[in-house]
Symmetry: C2
Subunit: 457 residues, 2 copies
């Protein structure tokens, strides 16, 4: 590999308009051929994956991570189903979103087009490579792909099959490219004149690193500090059910709730009940001194010397207590913690306004929920909370492209520009203005010899 | 002014959701009151402007620039008309762009909302301050404004009147803020955790500096290297008329054509004719050796010693020659020149594809035009050219929010994300997803106890 990443990306940039110009038929054919090739060459894919797993085992990778690295018949079936549904999705490009006559014979159209060259850096999961490259093919984009090194062998085989299918269908050679060395990421970050968009996936620290080290626009999110606010007009059972789901259904997800805010008026009644349910679900509580006091009053801590048998058993089975321990008292500045674990921050507030202000200040503008039966309170919350997703009476875990009905998800954006929240194929397109005239010049309009007659078509 | 820009912007960030929540009525009322105040306090405004003009005159500013600094009855009338039409424009926020039932009682809406805090750095033109602050009020955004120092006194009066009107109408105090020292720009550029979007206007070098020195997303453009490509199937008269308008109607504009590309097959016939018309319009030509040869053949240069009387007259009146002088021969690398003057680069190409490749490589992805009667060639050009505006048979000078019928223009973006091309009020909003449920949890869907039933509402 003697050609630098920069030179390869520059070449990709030059051919990207050709790739963008390939029609829907060519792109869907590329996807069909890719599915066919994956099916046909499964033995090579599985063999390469065995090599990756072998290396991973030797380096002592945990069984949980090993599961993500594995690419077997089951994962292949999922991938093929994903490609099928992608083929069935509406073409995201070529949509006319504005069609206006400016004057007789002067017609303006705004049409969706591929963004161009997209760099995607993703976690070590072979199915992610298939999903991402197919999303780029479907949307007419060229893509630079960098997957996790733990699945390098599998990635190589998968990539070669998909890239060959793209070319066979009629897309330009080099419309997909894979970089594999970690050092090549830094090279890629320098290519701000050739790469139109970067989508990093992975740990917070990694995404933050990418955002801090490139001038290329970055789409995605680093933190996911989501809140559930239980209003004074909440239905307690509903609130507890939502809270348990939002915290525990999948703790490692960015849309899991990390902080519980409770209206002060109902805290005495609600908190102890919620704490018991959370403790049963294995959730450890942290929080303000005030929250700790309320819980301590409801379930007083016994002096160590006088622990009952029951308390001893609980200490043994390590299930969390339905209260906040002294070492878990939080200060004001601690509330931007993202646990991604069975831990929850708790704080009381006096109003919807205070809840919203806390969320805007300490949250990550991802997804936040109010539980309330009060329409007026809900409206104020939905207005005041400055997040990609603002929910009422349902779990923050719904923040997801599939659950929103987008069919395919590129990622979730906490930025406010271009795409916000779960991003589907729409996030991979931009638009251009096409203006067709018959010799019109601006001088005529400036001099008043002609006038604009705007008319939607 | 002892409070730092950072502290003031942080406070603005915290109140921005409140400003965003103010309804259309409050915002339009703020605009109405602002117009009233400007009308009522015209003597103070004009007096402040006289101070600015006095200072400018003393520092020897050119009459052309002086004209831009002036704020008189005529400019005020224009400003008031602008505010009137802004009030009449549809509210850009609160529009529901997706309304979907995910399952019974679980309703997803995507609603447009203000971006939040926008920093705008603009040229020394008092009317720009009025226009920009009013656009931000109309779109529900908070704004940090930095105008050119040459109009500091006028800006101060205008700003105070508009900010007071906003508060009087019910918008939060501090929803508008003005910074005036140049050093405060650098402070502002550091506020990437509080400012959601920066819009710099002004010289290329200035915009480039902003883009290179902040992590805040920047909307705008530095260069405007626009092309007019005359295809082999062009109508010559139409091509020349378009070319003259695109080059000369307003040379300082970013959408003025800087490069003429001509299909090689027609160059011998077209170029000399075009060159004559361009010379008459005062345009000096630069270009490739090949273009120079064609023009020299059509109007041979006479040896210096044997200049005719006519040639002498031409040299005297300094109108450009209809040919390319030896010192104006261009090399490959020279074609990204932006003249903003009566100068035009000329190059021949073999095809639409070569024209598009040249434009994508040397252009600034702003606005580019093909002149042709050939529908198929036009289609290929519109597809292959990767610019915000791609035109057929009309002047590149049409790239403008007012001419597109947007009513008001924030600027023109050559970036591909968020907003591209001329940006109206739509460019000042983003969206959020609102999800209203009745206790739904993700666990039920994950376990198959409930299914999504996507249905557009």
């Amino acid at each position: 590999m003697s050609i630098s990443v920069r030179d390869r990306v520059r070449e990709m940039k030059l051919i990207s308009p050709v790739a963008a110009g390939a029609g829907e038929k060519v792109r869907n054919e590329a996807l069909r051929l890719a599915a066919e090739a994956l099916k046909k060459h499964r033995p090579e894919i599985f063999e390469a994956n065995r090599e990756d797993l072998e290396r991973a085992r030797e380096s002592g990778i945990s069984p949980a991570v090993m599961k993500r690295l594995r690419f077997n018949e089951h994962k292949l079936t999922d991938c093929l189903a994903g490609i099928e549904s992608l083929i069935a999705l509406e073409n995201p490009t070529g949509r006319v979103t504005l069609h206006r006559q400016l004057d007789e014979g002067l017609i303006l159209k705004r049409v969706t087009v591929p963004i161009g060259v997209i760099g995607i850096i993703f976690e070590a999961r072979p199915d992610a490579l298939v999903q991402i490259s197919c999303l780029c093919i479907k949307s007419g984009n060229c893509a630079v792909l960098k997957g996790g090194r733990e699945t390098a062998s599998t990635n190589r085989v998968l990539f070669d099959l998909i890239a060959a299918a793209a070319v066979q269908a009629g897309l330009p050679a080099n419309c997909l490219m894979q970089v594999s060395a970690h050092s090549e990421i830094d090279e890629l970050l320098e290519c701000d004149d050739c790469v139109d968009l970067l989508i990093p996936r992975g740990s917070n620290a990694f995404v933050r690193y990418i955002m801090d080290h490139t001038k290329i626009p970055v789409m995605g999110h680093s933190d996911g500090v989501c809140h559930t606010y239980v209003d004074r007009a909440a239905d307690f059972d509903q609130a507890i059910s939502i809270l348990i789901d939002a915290k525990t259904q999948y703790t490692a997800a960015c849309n899991a709730t990390e902080t519980l805010l409770v209206h002060r008026e109902i805290a005495g009644a609600f908190l102890p009940e919620a704490a018991k349910a959370l403790a049963r679900a294995g959730v450890k509580l942290r929080g303000t001194e005030e929250a700790a006091r309320i819980l301590a009053k409801a379930a007083p801590a016994l002096p160590d010397a006088a622990q009952t048998g029951k308390e001893k058993v609980r200490a043994q089975d390590k299930s969390p207590a339905a209260r906040i321990l002294p070492e878990d008292i939080m200060g004001e500045g601690d509330f931007s913690a993202e646990y991604l674990d069975l831990v929850l921050s708790v704080k009381l507030v006096d109003s919807v306004e205070e809840a919203a202000a806390h969320i805007n200040r300490f949250g990550s503008h991802h997804t936040d929920c109010i539980v309330t039966q009060d329409d007026e309170a809900a409206d104020r919350f939905l207005t005041l909370v400055d997040s990609a997703g603002v929910y009422r009476n349902c779990s923050t875990r719904f923040a997801d492209g599939f659950r929103y009905g987008f069919g395919a998800e590129v990622g979730i954006s906490t930025g406010k520009l271009h795409a916000r929240g779960p991003v589907g194929l729409d996030g991979l397109v931009t638009y251009k203005y096409l203006l067709e005239g018959s010799g019109q010049i601006v001088g005529d309009y400036a001099a008043g010899r002609r006038q604009f007659h705007f008319q939607e078509l």
